[in-house]
């Protein structure tokens, strides 16, 4: 009896799985036909309770449907109604429900007493957090307390954190891990357009003829979007060009793979502009009407020293000045430095230069974690601006994000030291506007930013910061030059609170560990790479005393005496917070969709105006905020024009030399979400990728007699680490380069990376430092 029930249930579920795939296929390939007998007997419903949510993991922001049964999440399928993924979902998306059920979920608050963690109640733990904050402020001033959050914070989490710290306590010590991944994209957008976030949307994929991937391993990092690219190739013959420093699964699937030497993307991008200008491919009318030319300071340094400061001084230049600057970047001059043939540079340029081709540029960490990251972002915008290939369907420079709400929370709510939900702390009007909505005196919000992430951890080490609350992130794995910051955090007189769902190397340094509710165990909103805000309801009860990060912050705020500003009701707080947050963005340039709309559909793109998402910003045909009477209006800048920047090639902070002759770059793998704190608890993913490794070029490995599995010692100026070798496996670095994934807390590659950063965005360059490689 049992057996037959089981068999029936399994076969029923199998049919459900087939149905989901057929629905997704029909969405992606209208008119697709399956053999009739295959379609017979497919059920149309299951006895699961299906509810929609954005995926917990990456910044693609797929819509998923989560099936729950008896209070437990048991199934996930791609939401066929979601325009993001059209019914698809990747392995990480599916496993997101399994990440809820790891054996060692944190369920009780833990307080460190005499070196050991003691279970306590949530009430007591929150009392302790609040009293420690009060004490620290009384003894050391308000700039001695800080919060460090994440692009995995929901929008309400980030909003209440910013309101509490900036508006109520009165410190700009608010940062988030998106500083380590997206800050450069922000400064790129701000310097070129005056407003953050992509002008286009994923629908560009359905229109582009060429996709240029700038150091972006989409096949592993944005698999669902990459499959949309492949579909377009199948359907319309679109071309995929992979421009990278390492051969990856993306390179193998691309139509053309072009490798360049680390850091020289700056030179190649300028060479492409050189070709565009010298071959008469400039869209003269567009440039005349909509662009200005500028240059900034050069030789900015790399931020390696404490208290490093840099402010750019933009200066207007003419098109002729710019043309003269490009003369140094003729393909023939760049080819040797970049390791890219003249033919390949011309090939790339020709795709952008062809007036009949629509081109999409896509990038992520390769361009953002770059010591001249803002520059390379500017340079790619230059290419699109010179050719007028921007802000229209299929013509789209598109910066992708890694985390589910790096855009929604960190960039839009503004959980960075200089930011407010609308505008920046340095601007008096912006401070007044925020203070009014927050119900606080404007004097509360300091006019000066304090510490960006690297400097915040340096301040903790120095003792300028004494209290840090870390939520949904794992800096004791991700900070570059990690040893300094780990030692600093452990010093006497520091008090660290960590809110998370599993133990991590970061909870190891905590004085108080607060168990958090994860994803659909609470209500919330995320914002993805294409300006799409998505809502999810609470579908499950969190385990034990686990509590949402939003409510933890609200509880502490009340204990600090800010009842008036945090008067939200327990049942209704997400709705109240979101409605309050929307006020910061009112107007045609950034209006957010009402909550009822987000509840009823798989998200909406802001600006949401007159009941409609805006798909292409700055284009008068699609964007109601355009008001200059022309086809395009870059209204982020006062004169309505975008900026073409003169930015040169400059070397990285540390380059290979005779002592440390290899390049070291770090990154992610498809199986693990960032530091693996969730995915390492999912057996199939853990088994598939149990530990880190170092990828070597096969030629180098042969010369050094290293085979896959052999131990290899990597030494940099920061320290040493031993890792197993990987030769000719998943990724293949170019000669004299090695690549190491950073997910493994037992092999902390960041102990030996360098904390150089882009002087404009303050985002560290994880892709480049010099290393010695030896067989161990």
């Amino acid at each position: 009896m049992y057996r037959s029930l089981y068999t029936n249930r399994r076969s029923f579920i199998k049919k459900m799985a087939v149905l989901s795939a057929m629905t997704a296929a029909a969405g992606m390939f209208p008119g697709i036909v399956f053999a009739e007998e295959q379609e017979r007997g497919i059920p149309t419903d299951a006895n699961l309770d299906w509810k929609k949510a954005p995926c917990r993991f990456c910044g693609v922001g797929c819509g998923v449907l989560v099936g729950t049964e008896n209070g437990r999440a048991v199934a996930v399928k791609g939401d066929p109604k979601s325009p993001v993924n059209k019914g698809l979902c990747c392995v990480k998306g599916y496993h997101s429900i399994m990440a809820l059920y790891g054996k060692d979920r944190l369920t009780k608050p833990l307080v460190k007493k005499n070196g050991t963690y003691v279970e306590t109640s949530m009430e007591e733990a929150l009392d302790l957090v609040a009293s420690k904050m009060k004490e620290t402020i009384a003894d050391h001033g308000k700039d001695a307390v800080s919060i460090y959050g994440s692009g995995q914070w929901t929008i309400p989490d980030g909003y209440v954190a910013s309101k509490l710290f900036k508006g109520c306590i009165g410190t700009n010590n608010v940062e988030a891990n998106a500083r380590l991944c997206m800050a450069t994209a922000v400064t790129g957008f701000l310097t070129s357009f005056g407003l953050d976030e992509p002008m286009g949307c994923y629908e560009d994929i359905d229109h582009a003829n060429t996709f240029v991937l700038w150091g972006n391993n989409m096949a592993e990092m944005h698999p669902v979007l990459f499959s949309r690219l492949l579909d377009q190739r199948l359907r319309r013959g679109a071309k995929i060009i992979d421009f990278a420093t390492r051969t990856t699964r993306t390179s193998m699937a691309a139509d053309k793979s072009i490798l360049f030497n680390p850091q020289t993307d700056l030179a190649v991008a300028n060479a492409i502009c050189h070709e565009i200008v010298n071959n008469g491919w400039v869209n003269t009318e567009f440039v005349k009407e909509h662009c200005n030319f500028s240059k900034g300071l050069t030789q900015m340094g790399y931020g390696l020293e404490d208290h490093y400061k840099f402010t750019d001084k933009p200066e207007s230049i003419t098109f002729e000045d710019y043309k003269a600057f490009l003369a140094d970047y003729a393909p023939e001059k760049v080819a040797r430095l970049a390791g890219v043939s003249v033919k390949d540079i011309k090939y790339l340029a020709a795709h952008f230069g062809d007036p009949n081709k629509k081109v999409m540029s896509l990038w992520c960490m390769g361009m953002n974690q770059h010591s001249r990251g803002t520059w390379i972002n500017n340079l790619v915008y230059n290419i699109h601006l010179l050719t007028g290939k921007i802000s229209s369907p299929g013509n789209s420079p598109f910066s992708l994000t890694g985390q589910p709400s790096a855009c929604g929370t960190v960039r839009e709510v503004g959980t960075l030291t200089h930011k407010l939900p609308h505008g920046v702390v340095m601007n008096k009007e912006h401070r007044e506007f925020a203070a009014k909505i927050w119900g606080v005196p404007v004097e509360n919000i300091p006019a000066k930013p304090t510490y960006h992430t690297v400097e915040m951890f340096r301040a903790l080490d120095r003792g300028d910061i004494r209290f840090m609350w870390i939520q949904v992130t794992n800096p004791m794995v991700t900070m570059p030059k990690l040893k300094r910051y780990r030692d600093g955090a452990k010093k006497e007189g520091r008090f660290i609170v960590v809110s998370d769902i599993y133990p991590t190397p970061t909870t190891d340094i905590a004085d108080v560990i607060l168990p958090s509710a994860m994803w659909i165990e609470r209500e919330g909103l995320y914002g993805n790479s294409e300006r799409r805000t998505q809502y999810f309801e609470q579908m499950l009860e969190p385990p034990g005393e686990a509590m949402s990060d939003t409510w933890q912050l609200v509880e502490v705020a009340k204990r600090l005496g800010y009842e008036k500003q945090f008067h939200y009701g327990r049942e209704s707080h997400i709705e109240e917070i979101y409605n309050e947050y929307r006020k910061h963005h009112e107007g045609k340039k950034h209006n957010m969709a009402p909550l009822e709309v987000l509840k009823s559909q798989p998200g909406a793109l802001w600006p949401y105006v007159d009941g409609k998402s805006t798909k292409w910003r700055f284009n008068a045909k699609y964007d109601p905020a355009c008001s200059n009477g022309k086809d395009f209006h870059f209204y982020g800048k006062k004169d309505g024009k975008a900026v073409i920047w003169q930015r040169p090639y400059e070397p990285a902070a540390e380059e290979p030399d005779s002592e440390y002759p290899f390049w070291l770059g770090t990154g992610r793998v498809v199986e693990h979400w960032h530091t693996g704190s969730m995915t390492r608890r999912i057996p199939v993913l853990h088994q598939a990728m149990p530990h880190s490794y170092v990828e070597l070029n096969p030629g180098d490995a042969k010369r050094m007699q290293i085979r896959t599995g052999d131990k290899v010692r990597l030494t940099t100026r920061r320290g040493k680490i031993v890792l197993p070798a990987s030769v000719n496996e998943r990724g293949v670095p170019a000669p004299m380069q090695v690549f190491v994934p950073f997910f493994d807390e037992n092999m902390l590659i960041n102990d030996i990376t360098l904390d150089s950063f882009c002087p404009i965005s303050k985002e560290p360059d994880y892709k480049k430092c010099a290393v010695k490689v030896e067989k161990a």
């Binding site: 399994r10 799985a17 057929m22 997704a24 048991v74 990459f226």
Partner: protein, 78 residues
């Protein structure tokens, strides 16, 4: 243990090879589309080890360009 469904994309001109390769694996069922170069793949495994082994087998198929997952059901036996 999980039942999962995918859209499997073959390398150009390799649809038949991919159907054959996938059909030869016990844990796989295939439903090729008639008019598009795409195949629905449903996998079913009983143990963690089987799941891990299957992942390896799938990754080793040369005619497979990309597996796009669509759904996954976690179905404990009880």
């Amino acid at each position: 243990m999980p039942i999962k469904s995918y859209l499997a994309h073959p390398h150009k001109g390799k649809k038949e090879y991919l159907i054959q390769a996938l059909s030869a694996i016990d844990e796989c069922e295939v439903l090729p589309a008639e008019n598009v170069e795409v195949i629905i793949l449903v996998t079913e495994t009983d143990t963690r080890q089987e799941e891990a082994d299957l992942k390896e087998k799938l990754e080793a198929i040369p005619s497979l360009k990309l597996l796009a997952m669509v759904s996954g059901f976690d179905t404990p036996k009880n």
